[in-house]
Amino acid sequence: MMQIRNLCYHYKGCPEVLKDVSFDIEPGKFLAILGNNGAGKSTLLKCFDHILRPDSGEVILDGENLLTMSHRDVAKRVAFVSQSVPDTQMTVHDVVMLGRRPYMQWSFTEKDHGIVHDAMDRLGIDGMRGRFLSQLSGGEKQKVMLARALAQQPKALLLDEPTSALDIQNQYQVLRMVRDICHDDRMVAVVVIHDLNLALRFCDRFLLMKEGQVYGCGDHSILDGPALKEIYGVDARIVEIEDRRMVLVEE
């Protein structure tokens, strides 16, 4: 269970980006944070993981407040996949190995190698472990990043626009993998995403943000015409086709 309580944040010299944000996520649920550009979605995600330090509030994961923990202790509980994928001359194996960094003492153990191997196996990238990250396609890189996050053995998985640079096949593949991991391991998974159709297809919970505040949080029923009008400023409605929900935007 992840509970966010009264989170406030402002960037230096700017007005508040997050204003008293509170909500809960149950384990095994895949949550999408939705909202316009500048609504504070990515900022909120980064506040969970010590990348940004909130001015006030609490982020509680299974009864422990993440904000008072050390970086290393947070990294054992929360994994973050950032929007930008690095382009380094490191092998896939070594990049995934970085996920064991929070647990490392002097060097990596056999157990670490086993966990890394399992993580790569699970995402189907075991075949690339000798290749350099810079030689991979966007979709493959994103899977490497996911494997690294899995190697952290987190209780919560945070993803900042993981599909924005991917083709449609990889968008579906990556999100399906995240959803399966989230459901199978009963992990909390949170994704910041712009594509509403993808969010409706894969996510179980939706957090709607507007100007740094929570507009609503719940299952797909909260995503209706008025809500879309309010948070995105467009006339849109949700239609059901063959049991799938889709967004139709009016011109």
Partner: protein, 351 residues
């Protein structure tokens, strides 16, 4: 059938991964071999023509001639050790600065630390009139000068507004400022002071005795130990600051500690041996071309590469028009410049 094929593929993949590791380790072994042979060559070259066996025995004071013991122990060995420590330290400092500032141009000489030392030396020689003196006067002032630059850079890196890339630009500005200040001091210097100052900026590996080596050895050892322990942190930092934080690294503290250690190491080295540029810039780049960005190999590689480069430069400086010993600082810049240009254009094509 499928499983057999996938097993075969697995083996191929493992081989590709292993080949990579073997290549990196092989390169480190090659560098070690190169360093050892350069040490032996350096031991041999000099005014005394002595068989190598005698020289090696001379290291332990066991040669047949007392004079060989003395030459080896008091002249050639301190020189070699100075070159190894200074070269290794500058190479490592360059490698780490490039990692934490995430800029391939970072090194002690491009950040202005070396220029700060030159200014300190110029101040000591001209303003304080220490030109004729030996001992700790000039090195101490040089150290103060480089530490002053290091503090400015550290101050900048603490500030939120200055990005790591901006620090390198600031370093360029600071180094030109100190170069200008040094020129101004030179303008008011008399001939004797001027020659003392110019001689200092040449760089000299021969003026350090065993007692100076101790200080250098300690800072280089501390830096090496720290860096080897944190080798995976630099790898994480390559994936960007946000990712590094999410992997449990206190990035701010890491950058600050590393800047402090690297600036300290470089300033101790520069104040002992004078202005030796380009080693810190070139050595990590050469190693990176072979082993990639994995700091597990890059850190020892940069130490070995830097030591070998400086020792080779010194060997070249001593033997090319023997018995004249050319200034090491000029040699490293002269030979390092074209090498750097080569890397720059090769890198440009790749980017």
């Amino acid at each position: 059938m499928d499983s057999i094929r996938s097993k075969l593929e697995d083996k191929g993949i493992d081989q590709a991964y292993r080949r990579n590791k073997v290549k990196s380790i092989g390169f480190l072994i090659f560098l070690t071999g190169l360093l050892v042979s350069t040490i032996l060559l350096s031991l041999c070259s000099g005014a005394y023509d002595t068989p190598i066996g005698e020289l090696v025995r001379g290291i332990f004071g066991l040669s047949s001639d007392r004079r060989i013991d003395l030459v080896v122990q008091n002249i050639r060995l301190p020189r070699i050790c100075t070159a190894i420590l200074a070269g290794g330290g500058l190479g490592l400092a360059g490698c780490i600065l490039q990692a934490v500032l995430r800029n391939p141009l970072a090194s002690a000489s491009t950040l202005g630390v070396s220029q700060g030392a030159t200014f300190g030396a110029a101040f000591a020689i001209v303003v304080l009139g220490m030109g004729g003196t030996t001992g700790f006067g000039i090195p101490s002032c040089a150290f103060l000068g480089s530490i002053a630059v290091a503090l400015v850079i550290l101050g900048l890196s603490r500030s939120r507004q200055v990005s790591p890339e901006g620090i390198v630009l600031a370093g360029v500005a600071i180094s030109s400022m100190f170069t200008g200040a040094t020129t101004l001091i030179q303008y008011f210097a008399d001939e004797v002071e001027l020659s003392a100052l110019v001689f200092w900026t040449f760089g000299d590996l021969g003026s350090t005795g065993w007692e100076d080596l101790g200080g250098m050895a300690i800072v280089v050892a501390v830096l090496s130990g720290y860096c080897v322990f944190h080798r995976w942190d630099y790898n994480a930092l390559l994936s960007g600051e946000e990712t590094a934080i999410s992997l449990g690294i206190d990035v701010k503290r890491l950058i600050l500690t590393n800047m402090l250690l690297c600036c300290l190491t470089s300033s101790v080295i520069v104040s002992n041996v004078g202005l030796v540029s380009f080693i810190g810039l070139v050595a990590p780049h050469i190693v990176r071309m072979v082993v990639g960005n994995d700091h597990v190999y890059l850190i020892p590689g940069s130490i070995l590469g830097g030591a070998t480069l400086l020792l080779l430069g010194d060997l070249f400086a001593r033997t090319v028009i023997s018995p004249v010993i050319l200034p090491i600082g000029a040699i490293t810049s002269f030979l390092g410049g074209p090498l750097f240009l080569y890397l720059l254009f090769k890198g440009g094509k790749r980017g």
